[in-house]
Amino acid sequence: MPKLILYIFRDILRNKIVIALSIFLFAVSFVLFNLEENSSKAMLSILNMALIITPLISMIFAAIHYYNSYEFIELMLAQPISRKKILSSEFFALGLALSVALLAGLGLPLIIYQSGIDGIWLLTTTIPLAWSCIAIAFAITVNIRDKAKGIGTVLLLWFYLSLIYDGLILFTMFSLSDYPLEKITLGLIALNPIDLARVSIMLKMDVSALMGYTGALYKHFFGSVYGFAFTFGILLLWIIVPLFIAHHSFQKKDI
């Protein structure tokens, strides 16, 4: 299995989309650091960009990769090797390749411009987020045979998680602003890995001071060791649960 992961990993690294993602992230972060006088403002822009681009590319690329590897998976399944090992190899290879792409695209500029602890937070949250997005994409694509339908569904889910979900939370908070909703909102945030990543990084940056009482409350929570464990625990769940669903469906699936 390590060899299978290695070969798939190397194959993905040579893929144009992964290389383009790396170059794009690198170029944009570089430009943002140069344009903004204030480096924490630049960090905020990079954060927003990274949290839109990373889930999008991770999900779509994982879906495309799965469908393109279909015949290869079929050939591998004709070998004496279990389905679990094959799907896991594909998952780990994708995760590793995208992690390398993120480290090169985001990590390098962050190191060059000495972004310090904020930069580390950004990377340590974005990378698990990418893994979680791959797992989510697998859980969907394994269950949908048709390529166009599968990629379309993944795209819709990304749209929902990155844009619509935020709107819904804002709407709830706004219409129920007379009630103490802090804890409920926290629960709602945990139901969306992208939101969770965004909120947890933002609250580690200086900008959270601008967010008033709620911001202060969350900063208190996310800043604590408990909050740290909460963020990573939930992100980990967002990797394990979709991956479990993908494995479960893949096991019974007709290839």
Binding site: K3, Y7, N15, F72, L75, M76, A78, Q79, S82
Partner: protein
């Protein structure tokens, strides 16, 4: 070697395989024949447990293929379309499969690898190969581990006449050594000389399963193509009656 008992498979409303029972023994070269959508590929995929049957059993060398993956060590499979990750090199594919199968080098069967001269393009990326070259790689892989059962889905499609002849000779030699070969093909004239048994499928039913000689006697034809045409005709008259 392979025993199939009351095997059925349905995809939703479509019954791809209807209660199929057959036994395939070593030394047979069974041509699996039937029109498109007759269930040939589903049957092959069931044997490889790529498709999970709705009901029925498949035994390979006396063992029920349940959730055990190891039985596939005795099978070499050549799919109809073999696509590989684009950036993997030819030698890496061989390396990878050797790593999975874990068979010592001296037990490998590299005849096709040498005869197809795969060494000459071993450093090329799979994505740059032509369809025929990919098919050669697929064929070489199916035979590489000296499996006792060979399952070949349209093996000669996409191959040039010379390579196709090499492959046919190889299939025949391995078959004569006592291996079981299951071969599906549309080009019947291609497999005329090497076939020993015929399994004819139509709409998920196994219409005929027996030796080629029996079929020749039954149909009064020598050529496989004409014998099959006879089967199809008799099938049609059954329906009209």
């Amino acid at each position: 070697m392979i025993k199939i008992a009351e095997l059925s498979k349905s995809f939703g409303k479509l019954n791809a395989l209807k209660n199929i029972s057959m036994e395939l023994l070593g030394g047979q070269l069974t041509a699996l024949i039937g029109p498109n959508g007759s269930g040939k590929t589903t049957l092959i995929k069931s044997i490889l447990s790529l498709v999970k049957p709705t009901s029925g059993r498949i035994e390979i060398q006396g063992k029920n293929i349940g959730n055990d993956d190891n039985y596939r060590t005795s099978i070499g499979y050549m799919p109809q379309i073999g696509r590989f990750p684009d950036h993997i090199k030819v030698y890496q594919i061989f390396d990878l499969l050797k790593n999975i199968r874990k068979i010592p080098d001296h037990m490998l069967d590299e005849d096709l690898y040498l005869e197809f001269n795969i060494n000459s393009f071993r450093d090329k990326a799979m994505g740059t190969l032509s369809g025929g070259m990919r098919q050669k790689v697929n064929a070489a892989i199916a035979f590489l581990f000296n499996p006792r059962i060979l399952i070949l889905d349209e093996p000669t499609s996409g191959l040039d006449p010379i390579s196709s002849e090499i492959l046919k000779n190889k299939i025949s030699t391995e078959n004569k050594k006592g291996k079981l070969v299951i071969l599906s093909s549309h080009i019947l004239s291609d497999i005329d000389e090497i076939t020993t048994h015929v399994a004819y499928m139509q709409e998920g039913n196994l219409i005929f399963n027996g030796s080629f000689e029996d079929l020749q006697l039954k149909s009064n034809e020598i050529k496989l193509g004409k014998a099959i045409a006879y089967l199809m005709r008799s099938q049609q008259s059954n329906i009209t009656q």
